[in-house]
């Protein structure tokens, strides 16, 4: 290897290093605010606690006459777990995740359609005098 080639290589490497350093900077600046702020877990915990309060109030405000539809509609909405099932299916390769995902999607779908439609059927029966 002659010195010219070496110098070339060194130059290139230096360039690479520079480039890397640059990307490192960019990445740091992206990562920094997220790191300094609270971790997602704290946010999720906060969301969870507030949702518990909301659930408490919202359910206590349901009129007792509609407690049966309430049971049915919560069936429907709790099937939002389908989101997890879809991700397992759609974002992965391989048979097992696909199988589990498919089963979960199917079960949740039964619930979604079943829950909301039964609720609709029940509610459509409630009529006022006028």
């Amino acid at each position: 290897m002659n010195s010219n080639a070496l110098a070339d290589q060194a130059h290139q490497l230096a360039g690479n290093a520079n480039d890397l350093a640059h990307r490192l900077d960019t990445l740091s600046s992206i990562a920094a605010p997220a790191a300094a702020a609270a971790e997602p877990f704290i946010y999720l915990l906060t969301i969870f606690l507030l949702a518990c309060f909301v659930g408490y109030y919202v359910v206590w405000n349901v009129t007792p006459a509609l407690h049966s539809p309430l049971m049915a509609v919560t069936n429907g909405i709790s099937s939002v777990i389908i989101v997890g099932a879809m991700l397992a299916t759609g974002l992965s390769h391989g048979f097992l995740p696909h199988l589990f995902g498919f089963l979960a999607v199917t079960l949740a779908s039964v619930n979604i359609f079943g829950g909301f439609l039964v609720t609709q059927r029940m509610l459509s029966m409630f009529k006022s005098k006028r």
């Binding site: 999720l44 969870f48 949702a51 518990c52 909301v54 659930g55 408490y56 359910v59 405000n61 007792p64 006459a65 509609l66 407690h67 049966s68 539809p69 309430l70 049971m71 509609v73 919560t74 069936n75 429907g76 909405i77 709790s78 099937s79 939002v80 777990i81 989101v83 997890g84 099932a85 879809m86 991700l87 397992a88 299916t89 759609g90 974002l91 992965s92 390769h93 391989g94 097992l96 995902g101 498919f102 999607v105 079960l107 949740a108 779908s109 039964v110 619930n111 979604i112 909301f116 439609l117 039964v118 609720t119 609709q120 059927r121 509610l123 029966m125 409630f126 009529k127 006022s128 005098k129």
Partner: protein, 468 residues
């Protein structure tokens, strides 16, 4: 779709779910509320479908699942009889529980899809959340299955009791806990996962069999609550807003309904869950008790005569009306009476029937306008001004022993003061006691007239007599 947009859509879905439950605060807004729920679900599904990185091969499975499941769900929802509602809800819960188990299994096998690490190198926190979701999901699944079987009479309602039952459950629970620790410590081995799943299902099974068939509504509600918390667990694992919020809503809903029912029965949730109480076959001690006391019994014509001449009749439906499917006959009777100028109202006890709001749904099915239907607190002091209380298939919810007999199983439970009406008509088949197995002293009161017979047949006869 950027991940921010997806999250925003999940947030919108969650808010729509809140509005869905909020709509149930009145019958007027309830249909709109249910629509919000459906729209929210559609948004959540669409957001997930449109998510960056979804693979074509996955889509096929997803669409297939939605089509198969959706068709099944829609079919069941359309064809089910309103009286089978309690078991339907139980069956649905068991599906949510099983779905949670499969989602956890999916996450274990494809952690990258959820950004929780690589296979065999899943983040510890995610493993904890995942196993909590798994265990609760599995318990919900098998527990709801038993509840379904008991309600559907596929299995006898009598409590199944054996020695050291609670100790066994405790040991099983501790074993599951220990396995979760192992599971997390070893970075998520497959075998341990499935052992946990199986043991948790066994636990769910064992927890529910000692509980009597008639207590199943409380159990169903409690499992509803569990399924919510399972969804929360999965939501934390996959850091999904919609799941966490919805899980908390559902968890709160189930817990509150269980509480309402226990309060209405004046029993503690522990009393219910420790089991051994109540069977769906109703009272055992009943019939013989009042041997030497006289009971005034009448027939449909007597009842029709009394009511025709009344100015105010309060109808008190109970579980027997549901059994006999008498709601349409009752509505018809009320229409006849109203045509005669009688003021007719319905009084609903919070735990009348076998599930919260049971009577309301049946009456609504029979086209009774909801403005004629009143809750206990709204109507209870109107019995003193009523000429007739028409008690149809209700028993415990009218039993004054709840007020006076400190030793009674229902002592302290609020009751409908039907005895204050000028005449009380009791429509039931026998002198048997109700769900709680407590004798009802009202049957022997001088202002009570028993109308022995099936609720539907008897009411139809009353309608005929009114026609004359």
């Amino acid at each position: 779709m950027s991940s921010n947009l997806t999250s925003l859509l999940y947030l919108i879905a969650a808010v729509l779910f809140i509005l869905a439950l909020r709509g149930l605060s009145s019958p007027v807004t309830s249909r709109r509320g249910n629509q919000y729920g459906m729209i929210g679900m559609a948004i959540a599904v669409a957001a997930t479908l449109g998510r960056h990185g979804m693979l074509a091969e996955g889509y096929i499975w997803i669409v297939a699942g939605i089509l198969v499941g959706g068709a099944a769900g829609a079919y069941v929802a359309r064809s089910i009889a309103m009286t089978a509602l309690p078991q339907l809800v139980a069956a649905f819960h068991s599906l949510v529980g099983l779905a949670a188990v499969f989602v956890a299994a999916g996450a274990l096998n494809a952690p990258a899809a959820f950004n929780i690490g690589l296979p065999h190198h899943i983040h510890t926190q995610s493993l904890i959340e995942m196993s909590v979701g798994l265990a609760i999901g599995a318990i919900t699944f098998s527990g709801s299955l038993i509840a379904f079987a008991k309600l559907q009479a596929l299995m006898k309602g009598t409590p199944i009791l054996f020695r050291f039952q609670h100790q066994l459950n405790l040991v099983l629970g501790l074993v599951i806990l220990a396995l979760i620790v192992v599971f997390v410590a070893q970075g998520g081995p497959q075998t341990v996962f499935w052992v946990i799943a199986v043991l948790a299902m066994a636990l769910g099974f064992l927890l529910i069999i000692p509980i009597g068939g008639a207590d199943m509504p409380v159990v169903v509600s409690m499992l509803n609550s569990y399924s919510g918390w399972a969804a929360c667990g999965i939501g934390f694992t996959i850091q999904n807003l919609a799941l966490i919020i919805t899980g908390a809503l559902v968890g709160a809903s189930g817990a509150i309904l269980s509480y309402v029912m226990c309060k209405g029965m004046n029993r503690s949730i522990f009393n219910v869950l420790l089991g051994g109480f109540g069977t769906d076959s109703g009272g055992v001690s009943g019939a013989a008790a009042g041997g030497d006391r006289t009971v005034k019994s009448g027939n449909a014509e007597d009842a029709a005569f009394i009511m025709k001449n009344a100015s105010k009749v309060i109808i008190v439906p109970g579980y027997g009306m549901a059994v006999a499917q008498a709601q349409h006959a009752v509505r018809e009777m009320a229409d006849h009476l109203k045509a005669e100028g009688v003021d007719v109202r319905y009084a609903i006890h919070p735990v009348a029937g076998r599930m919260p709001g049971h009577m309301n749904v049946l009456l609504a099915e029979a086209n009774v306008p909801y403005d004629d239907v009143f809750e206990l607190e709204q109507i209870n002091n109107e019995f003193s001004t009523a000429d007739v209380a028409y008690v149809i298939g209700a028993n415990d919810v009218t039993n004054p022993a709840a007020k006076t007999d400190t030793g009674s199983a229902i002592y302290g439970m609020p009751i409908l003061d039907v005895e204050k009406a000028r005449t009380v008509l009791f429509i039931k088949r026998s002198m048997a006691s109700g769900y709680a197995g407590v004798d009802n002293e009202l049957f022997f009161r001088p202002n009570t007239m028993m109308l022995f017979g099936d609720a539907k047949k008897m009411t139809e006869e009353v309608v005929q007599s009114l026609d004359h």
